[in-house]
Amino acid sequence: MLLTSVIIVLREVLEAALIVSVLLAIGRTLPVRVSWVGWAFGFGAIGALLYATNIATVSDWFNGVGQEVVNALLQIAIYIFLMLFIMRVRVDRDEGRGSDKLVSWLMIVSVSLAITREGSELLVYFSGFASDLDLFTPVLIGGVVGASIGISLGALTYYLLLNINRAWTPHIGTVVIALVGAGLASQAALLLIQADWLPSQTPLWDSSNWLPETSVTGQLLYALIGYEATPTPLQGAIYFVALLAPIALIKLLNKAGRRFLPSS
């Protein structure tokens, strides 16, 4: 029970921890106050609690695929806010202007949605053992261990990003966020395939023999670049569109004199 709990909690915490640590590192290179992270955790905790307590109702929406649809919407929203964030940071830097409240809010919204998504699943998991103290104790201890490993990996990412040449931090951070974002978009597509809202297809490839998703490397790559051993063509296409969209938009903005994003 204990080991299961370690793995479940670690898997959920890892993805959110990665986003939080990279945003924190980028934030350190910007003139924004670090208090955004407190707001993000607060809103995220409320969101997770609301979602977890209503999970039965949500599951019944859209003929039983409500969970997939809501989770896919959450993932797409996180993707959009993360991309707006990296684009805004880029535009601010190009114009030699300091970042404003909008940048903080983009970070708060993306992180609180990520915590809502991952946290609600953890709350549902723990709720299943709450009535049995003999089971709840090992599950909770495992959870603390799993969360600690996830947070440690996040801290490692944070310090790695800040200990390289500080001028590179926003660039590498942006690349990591773009990869995580593309992974979120492809997972959203997978959820909609599971709900039969998008067509199901035979997988493009099967790399489960040489890099299983269950392996440690597989799990880390899943959190980092959205690695799937058996992605469908549609998922692959959405991954690349999601990865290239912010780059294309930044190029467009450069050409159009960057009038699309509101200036402060």
Partner: protein
């Protein structure tokens, strides 16, 4: 089991163009899948109906099928799978992975 075979036979004899998505039902009871082995037609989309008869939540999970879904206690869940190449596709209950195990066999 009989119902599954009937479904399988029906899905094989039906005209592909007019074929409806075959529905297969699984129950979760005492953190076990019942039946734990289901046979489905290969290269066909399947609608899995998973009934959780336990009061506690479970998460249907399969790396091979690329599926993951929380099923609240005493509720049912719909999960679409496939089309699958012939083969075996293990699945498990992520919240009770030691007992809740099963596989989809595509033929």
């Amino acid at each position: 089991m009989l119902r599954l075979w009937v479904l399988l036979v029906l899905s094989l004899v039906s005209i592909p163009a007019a074929a409806k998505t075959p529905v297969i039902e699984i129950e979760i009871r005492n953190h076990l899948f019942e039946p734990s082995e289901i046979v489905v037609p290969a290269n066909t989309k399947i609608k899995l109906m998973v009934y959780n008869r336990d009061p506690t939540p479970e998460e249907f999970e399969s790396y091979e099928l690329n599926r993951e879904k929380v099923i609240v206690g005493n509720r049912k869940a719909v999960i679409f799978i496939g089309p699958l190449k012939p083969g075996e596709y293990p699945f498990f209950g992520e919240f009770h992975p030691k007992t809740a195990r099963g596989k989809v066999i595509a033929r």
